[in-house]
Amino acid sequence: MGTIDITYFDLGIGLLLLAIPFFYLWKFKTGLLKATIIGTARMIVQLFLIGMYLKYLFLWDNPWINFLWVVIMVFVAGQTALVRTQIKRKILFIPITVGFLTSVIIVGLYFMGVVLKLDNIFSAQYFIPIFGILMGNMLSSNVIALNTYYSGLKREQQLYRYMLGNGATRQEAQAPFIREAIIKAFSPLIANIAVMGLVALPGTMIGQILGGSSPNIAIKYQMMIMVITFTASMLSLMITISLASRKSFDSYGKLLEVTNESKK
């Protein structure tokens, strides 16, 4: 619409800027140069592919295809969480999939149906980007929280058992670890909310303004994006931890071997 296109040549010129961070990564022997080059190459290929399939998703604009895309994204996110937390598949996969799917549907449809009052809540223009941003945020906060929760339980077994041994319910004994997980996962988000618009102009808002929207509309969308990502991340985490905890402890409340590496 009102956005200036970037030609492939100009995109190449823009990518030259990466020479600066690449130089310092190399100069200080960080060992990150190769990973950064591979990561950048992957990003370029992935975004071109996403650009292509999003083009067709928007072209077809079929609710079933859109919903199928969300389901696939949920499974991919669940698989990514398994790799990044090293938690056993039989403990985490179903809880995190249920957590993601439930939260994204409840929060996403609430936003599109109740707040935006869309005639077609499965419209690809809204459905795809909103569910996509929710998935991305849920994944990163869940990975941080789950790592904190299980590493805390393993490290502070004495606290967990002291509480259980002195009459705590399973929920009470797990509560300090859930608290730590929430603090670690959500502190950056809360800090980000507090300085929104002052220290940094957020991506959604920038994207909308570049796309030709008025700043008045852009700020309202940005507020809602912050609210729905925060809510969906918290809801999905609570569902995931609640379901995963049922498989993480034995009948006596003792923590089982939850990670793949502890098998060794």
Partner: protein
């Protein structure tokens, strides 16, 4: 109060002990002694439901320990594990942990009573306001003993209560436990300290 019958604990093929039986009545204390690695702490952990018995049974009061009754059993116990180090900054926070639990809400926390127990155990009341890293291991042990007594549970289980204490402080702990048994509590301890072990009603060699 506590009945252990023909108990055996084994990890894989390694049998720590077998055919162990004991009975602890209300108002009695018992101390289990034995060489390091003979399974003393594992026995206490078995009573807490953290280590499974390979054979035998454990009964607390009239309740047979199994996966359905473990919560009921834990409600009757005040437990102090060995070398308890909890990740809190302040002593007062550690003291207050068990009193915030639903199971212990019937037992109100009172500083007066806590400081009375502190006094009996040779502790100054200003410890309550200190940071955990400002107190010694021996002080921490006695603080947890005072907390366990305040919970007013019928059974107190304590692992190595005097390992960081000198003779004078050990005597105070022995006297303190005696007063708890006189009030009706049963105390099961594990210790290498023979002076402490001899002060208990039963001395059991594992």
């Amino acid at each position: 109060m506590l009945y252990i019958n023909n108990a055996c604990i084994a990890f894989g093929n390694e049998v720590l002990f077998s055919e162990f039986s004991m009975q602890l009545n209300k108002g009695e204390s018992a101390c289990i002694t034995g060489q390091s690695g003979c399974g003393k702490s594992s026995l206490l952990n078995a009573v807490m439901g953290f280590v499974p018995l390979s054979k035998g049974t454990i009964r607390v009061g009239t309740t047979l320990l199994d996966k359905l009754t473990i919560d009921t059993i834990r409600h009757q116990i005040a437990w102090i594990p060995q070398e308890l180090a909890l990740p809190y900054e302040w002593v007062k926070d550690i003291i207050e942990i068990p009193f915030a639990l639903k199971a212990n809400r019937g037992t109100s926390f009172s500083k007066e009573q806590l400081f009375m127990h502190f006094d009996e155990l040779g502790l100054e009341s200003d410890l309550y306001q200190k940071r955990v890293n400002e107190i010694s291991g021996g002080q921490r042990q006695r603080i947890m003993i005072a907390v366990a007594a305040m919970l007013e549970k019928p059974l107190i289980i304590v692992d190595e209560p005097t390992s960081a204490l000198d003779a004078g402080s050990t005597d105070k702990v022995s006297m303190f436990f005696r007063r708890q048994t006189e009030k009706g509590a049963a105390i099961l301890a594990v210790s290498h300290d023979m002076d402490f072990a001899k002060s208990c009603n039963q001395l059991i060699k594992l």
